[in-house]
């Protein structure tokens, strides 16, 4: 347990940033008037953001060790500890979560009238759950937060969602639950084999037999693949998105999806190196299918949100491709693309929410000629469209380029296939933009003014502005963010000890499967 | 030990199967209750026989408990019968199928 650095700050920063939203949720419990509830929720989310700010500047970028670590005995009988810490990989996601939570509270200022108190409590507990997952280094704690996240999201979709929200929320819940149950089995196996300890770092050092790694990887893969939505198990995402309220889908797209990929990074790759190498080829094939398939489906979508949901399936295909290219560029590109995707798609869902408040329709055909009606909104949206396509100068490009670079370096064919995703991406996004903003305006919006489509107001601009700033900041100067990851990713790749070539690992995969039958 | 243990067991088996027949065949609910009592008594006999031949008290103690259970069961069964009878004046088994799935 030597490679951890205890928390030197004056206050237990990680514990505070995880449990502050929970306290906020409790405080909200005793409030009646909706307005007060809104402001306190905003206050707490901003407070969490500020509390976790010092993490950034006194984070030591040179070491891959876990930092700001706090360990307290919790359940001694099974050696379960309250073990919390962050490293290069998880630090950026903390800020993505806190930032998006603030924006969610802001965007649902007017959108949510019914049961506002419960809504904001759900968001705050959600935030606590997500932060918990990113910081926890004990399997037990991790699993609690992992499951704790589901319930508020389930409520968010189930209560404040669209028409068939119940179907969507149940599907979402069952999908993730089935996956995480298998993961629980994996955890228990690790617990017993790893010497009766649930501490993630200790378990990462142990060398497991390849046969066991094979099955453990499958168990973890089930949980994470569902969350990432990798290709075959992605159908819950479009439903969950179309039915979720704006804030819900922002958090869903912004952070929840990253859990799966983060899981790969924190558990699958470090703990089961041989199994990872065996499974590289199938996962890459799945990712490429996800990229191309996700993009193709976007062409056929009629519903605005569903299209963006499928586009995030395609983007996350890029992320998994990057992660499993297993070289520094690929993994760093993957992590950065996770951040970018959180920012871009989060912002896009915020925008969809904003326009939905005015037009109350999500069918693309109902829109048209909105560039004249809401020019400022159109301006912001064009920035998001080009960020999502991966135009150089925006953050999308840096992530995608690094991923394609990593994939190309690993095996040329993967890079080439992944690059086709860019063309398809440009296709459906521009077509979407044209159908909504360019064509001739629908008569009922313009002439009769039946729906007074007012342009974006100050509150909404404040919600969008920070994300736009990040889009250009990462685009122009990505090193501020990449520098955090270098040492951790280096360490991740190093202990993967890629001894043999990919081909050899592939026939190990085939051998394992043959033994199965 | 002139009367071997096996005879007693055979006797209780016979009575038990008559009880089973009674329970399965008869339509009248009360008779079914009675045949259950019959079955329980046959078990008591074999228990007593075992206790006697194995010279251990466990058998007799069990008989006690069987009796208590039998009594409780009879009481509750008949109470249900009466309650049911109140709103549906029949005790023919094949007409009572409220619990149909």
């Amino acid at each position: 347990m030597e490679d951890i650095i205890y928390n030197q700050l004056s206050y237990p920063i990680l514990t505070w940033s995880v449990f502050l939203p929970l306290i906020g949720a409790l405080v909200l419990l005793f409030m009646r008037n909706a307005h007060v509830v809104r402001w306190t929720a905003l206050l707490f989310t901003i407070a969490t953001f500020i509390v976790s700010l010092p993490l950034l500047n006194n984070f030591d970028k040179s070491t891959h060790k876990m930092q700001f670590v706090e360990i307290h005995e919790w359940i001694p009988t099974w050696d379960i500890k309250y073990f919390v810490g962050i490293d290069g990989i998880s630090i950026l996601f903390l800020f993505l979560t806190t930032l998006l939570s603030i924006l969610c509270v802001l965007v649902s200022w007017k959108a949510i009238e019914t049961k506002t108190k419960e809504f904001y409590m759900a968001i705050l507990t959600m935030e606590a759950g997500m932060l918990g997952v990113f910081v926890s280094l004990d399997f037990f704690l991790f699993y609690i937060f992992w499951e704790a996240m589901l319930i508020p999201m389930f409520i968010l979709i189930g209560v404040w969602g669209g028409q068939n929200r119940v179907y969507a929320s149940i599907k979402f819940f069952l999908y993730t639950l089935v996956g995480s149950v298998l993961m629980l089995v994996g955890i228990i196996v690790l617990y017993f084999y790893g010497g009766r300890t649930l501490d993630i770092l200790a378990l990462s050092e142990i060398q497991y037999p390849v046969k066991m790694q094979f099955w453990l990887f499958l168990a973890f893969f089930a949980a994470f693949a569902v969350k990432v939505p990798m290709f075959p198990v992605h159908t819950w995402l479009p439903d969950a998105h179309t039915e979720a309220p704006t804030a819900g889908s922002v958090i869903l797209a912004g952070v929840l999806i990253k859990m799966g990929a983060y899981g790969f990074l924190r558990f699958s790759i470090p703990m089961l190196p041989d199994a990872t190498l065996i499974f590289v080829k199938p996962i890459l094939i799945l990712s490429i299918i996800a990229i191309v398939y996700g993009a193709l489906v976007c062409f056929a979508q009629k519903d605005f949100k569903r299209l963006i949901a499928y586009s995030s399936v395609s983007h996350m295909g890029f992320v998994t491709l990057g992660l499993f290219a297993l070289n520094t560029q690929g993994v760093e590109g993957g992590i950065l693309q996770m951040l970018n995707h959180g920012i871009i798609t989060g912002a896009m869902f915020l925008m969809i929410g904003i326009i939905y408040e005015r037009t109350h329709t999500r069918v693309i055909a109902d829109y048209g000629g909105f560039a004249k009606l809401v020019p400022l909104y159109a301006g912001f949206f064009i920035i998001l469209t080009f960020a999502s396509i991966g135009l150089p100068g925006t953050n999308g490009f840096i992530g995608e380029f690094l991923i394609i670079f990593g994939a190309f370096k690993a095996r040329m064919i993967w890079g080439v296939l992944a690059a086709t995703g860019i063309i398809l991406g440009a296709g459906y996004m521009l077509w979407l933009y044209q159908r909504i903003f360019f064509q001739d305006a629908r008569t009922d919006y313009e002439a009769t003014g039946a729906h007074p489509v007012s342009d974006i107001n100050v509150r909404e601009v404040i919600t969008i502005l920070p994300l736009i700033v990040f889009i250009f900041w990462i685009g122009v100067h990505p090193d501020t963010f990449l520098s955090y990851m270098h040492s951790s990713v280096e360490n991740l790749i190093k202990n993967l000890n890629m001894t043999t070539s990919y081909a050899e690992y592939e026939n190990m995969l085939v051998k394992n499967i043959m033994e199965l039958f | 030990m002139l009367v071997p243990l096996s005879w007693y067991i055979i006797l209780s088996a016979v009575i038990f199967s008559i009880g089973v027949f009674g329970f399965l065949a008869r339509r009248n609910l009360i008779i079914m209750f009675i045949s259950i009592e019959l079955m329980l008594n046959s078990v008591n006999i074999s228990l007593a026989a075992f206790s006697h031949y194995l010279q251990v008290m466990r058998g007799q103690i069990l008989v006690f408990f069987v009796i208590t259970v039998a009594a409780a069961e009879a009481a509750i069964g008949l109470a249900i019968l009466i309650a049911y009878y109140k709103n549906n004046p029949t005790i023919k088994v094949d007409e009572i199928n409220l619990l149909k799935g």
Partner: protein, 643 residues
């Protein structure tokens, strides 16, 4: 460091216009944009003089991306090649900015137009001045973005919005190859910086790489991938479909982007990577062949077009074909020289046609771009007519005008380039004939003969205002004298100043023929230019019925050419439709039926079974009793017999 200002000035203008445009600047946007672009023009000139005096500027501003061993900086390199490009880009942009003050006057999105133009100039300058491939890729895509904005500027028109989208996506196809090329370069050389890459270019010889199983020469693969980007950006054969549709944008846009600067980015990139291209014979030949074929292909289509801007657009594609032809045969400086002169006279042609359209626009002429509806404008627009004549003389290669020198240089270098070069020289000369024909056809249809437009409109047509005609004069001056920079040694000993100037970067074209051959080639091109002129003259001025007769005579060919060889339809049916249909029918069906089927199917299946089992619960006591008894019997039976 002051040269970093060159791209920054237009960027600042862009930010000011876009942020404050809507409610503060409105129609005064040009007061910000024009000085900014003029500022960078002045800086460009000073940079040119610096480079002329010999010192090449190569500064790295800050490190852009570092990830593992991959390191890219944002830095600028101004050497001979980029100095010339700077001059071309900034001078043409300044003139076009002034021109568009008049042209775009009164348009709702006035400030937006100038904002996008400044953004375009910024991205083009970054592309030209970049000192590594990734920064060039940044400029490359940013320029594509601005062309998307500007083509689709009048977005309420569906055709304009479609054209913008089409341009961006087709460019994306090109950038797909270009991106992969950049990655491959880094993987082979370990760095993207020009100096290092071109320094080790020699090591490429003979290296092969396994591509999907079989060995491919590394240099060829890299160059072809890069060329793929150039084809997309400079609208060569397979990816040229977007340029004619790009005419939907306002005319200054067509002039700036689709004549002078953006489309030449491909030529600039290939010239910049000449050390790589020299390493692979196959790549050079492909470039030359694609260039030659495009030249003649585009020229044939231009013969029958009726829309004035489309004719000029196809002429641009054809001239770009010439430039690639020059690069392909190794005459890089000739290619750049032609790029330099072409920028002037092509911009002049576009702006001239713009002033014609502008004039007809005022005359409430609905179909203002259709040449068949024009005619006899000589009387009404004398200055535009004279400027048009100069531009046409220059493009057709009449001696002592810019076009002649650069085109002749290319044909001469092609002639020397072995038997492939000889064949391409033939293609080029025929293309020159066609160019002469359609250029003069355009003149006669628009300016000569009688007015074929609506009756009442003729008197409304009048010369365009000063702010439009002054830039035309400057460009006319350029169209005439730009050529004198590269007079072939035949006439003046050290005439080819531009060749020597570019030598350190682009090297000397090898191969030199006798004077006789040079005279023969020059004579051939002059003869071809005059022949085209006379044929056009007879057909469109003297016997005006001739075009109809010939048209009906070769009916199938005419319709084939008129519909641009049906390439648009071919692409849409072979690529666009299948993608849309696939996503509609197969993919969506797969998603909804197969996966949803499984996901929803499972619970229904379970429901089905459970309904079956329900019937077992009959509710009769007897049945339950029987089942119980039967169960007991089975157990006892098992215990007795099996155990």
């Amino acid at each position: 460091m002051k040269y970093a200002l060159i791209p920054l000035l237009p960027f600042i203008a862009f930010v000011l216009n876009i942020v404050f445009g809507r409610n503060y600047i409105k129609d005064r946007a040009h007061w910000i944009a024009v000085p900014a672009v003029f500022g960078s023009f002045v800086l460009a000139v000073s940079a040119f003089t610096d480079v002329l005096s010999g010192n090449v500027i190569n500064i790295n501003l800050y490190s852009w991306i570092t990830s593992g061993d991959f390191h890219v900086t944002v830095g600028f390199l101004i050497d001979q090649l980029s100095a010339i490009m700077l001059i071309v880009v900034t001078s043409i942009s300044t003139l076009i900015f002034i021109y568009s003050i008049g042209y775009m006057h009164g348009d709702g999105g006035y400030y937006r137009f100038f904002a996008y133009l400044s953004l375009f100039v910024f991205s083009m300058l970054v592309l030209v001045m970049a000192n590594n491939f990734l920064l060039m890729y940044f400029g490359w895509e940013a320029v594509g973005l601005c062309s998307y904005f500007l083509i689709g500027f009048w977005f309420h028109k569906k055709s304009a919005a479609d054209a913008g989208k089409k341009a961006f996506i087709v460019n994306r196809f090109g950038d797909f190859g270009f991106g992969l090329g950049v990655i491959l370069i880094f993987l082979t050389f370990g760095s993207l910086d020009y100096m290092q890459v071109f320094g080790q270019a020699g090591s490429l010889l003979g290296q092969t790489i396994d591509l999907f199983g079989y060995d491919v020469d590394l240099a060829t693969l890299i160059c072809l991938l890069l060329f793929c980007g150039a084809v997309g950006k400079s609208a060569q054969i397979p990816l040229h479909v977007w340029l004619p549709d790009a005419m939907e944008g306002p005319t200054p846009v067509s002039a700036l982007i689709h004549a002078a600067t953006m489309v030449t980015a491909g030529v600039f990139m290939v010239a910049r990577c000449n050390p790589l291209f020299n390493m692979s014979e196959i790549a050079m030949n492909t470039v030359a062949i694609v260039g030659g074929v495009t030249a003649i292909f585009a020229a044939t289509i231009a013969l029958v077009q009726n829309d004035i801007k489309r004719v000029i657009a196809y002429s641009t594609v054809s001239q770009l074909g010439y430039m690639f032809l020059a690069l392909g045969v190794g005459a890089y400086s000739a290619g750049i020289f032609h790029l330099y002169t072409h920028a002037y006279f092509k911009a002049l042609l576009f702006l001239g046609s713009g002033s014609v359209i502008h004039a007809l626009h005022h005359a409430k002429h609905d179909d203002e771009q259709n040449m068949q509806k024009m005619g006899g404008l000589r009387k009404h627009m004398p200055l535009t007519y004279r400027v048009f004549i100069i531009a046409t003389l220059s493009i057709t290669g009449i001696p002592f005008l810019a076009g002649f020198f650069s085109k002749d240089e290319i044909l001469w270098r092609a002639f020397l380039g072995g038997e492939l070069g000889r064949f391409l020289w033939l293609l080029g000369t025929i293309a020159a004939l066609l160019t002469a024909f359609y250029s003069w056809r355009l003149i006669y249809l628009t300016f000569h003969g009688s007015y074929r437009g609506g009756e009442g409109q003729e008197q409304h047509i009048h010369e365009s205002p000063k702010v439009i005609t002054v830039p035309l004069m400057f460009l006319a001056f350029g169209a005439i004298f730009a050529g004198y920079v590269g007079i072939p040694p035949l006439f003046v000993e050290h005439g080819d100043k531009i060749g020597e100037f570019l030598a350190p970067v682009l090297g000397h074209p090898e191969g030199h023929g006798t004077h006789v051959q040079e005279f023969f080639v020059m004579g051939a091109s002059i003869f071809v230019a005059l022949a085209g002129w006379i044929v056009a003259y007879t057909m469109y001025l003297k016997k005006t019925d001739l075009p109809q007769k010939i048209g009906s005579l070769f009916k199938p060919i005419h319709t084939l050419l008129f519909n641009k060889y049906y390439i648009d339809e071919l692409y849409s049916r072979s690529i666009v439709q299948p993608v849309l249909k696939a996503s509609d029918k197969i993919i969506l069906a797969f998603d909804t039926y197969v996966i949803e089927g499984i996901v929803n199917g499972l619970p229904n299946l379970i429901g089905l079974f459970s309904r079956k089992f329900r019937t077992v619960q009959t509710g009769f006591l007897a049945n339950y009793g029987l089942v119980m008894a039967f169960g007991v019997l089975c157990i006892i039976g098992y215990m007795i017999f099996v155990r």
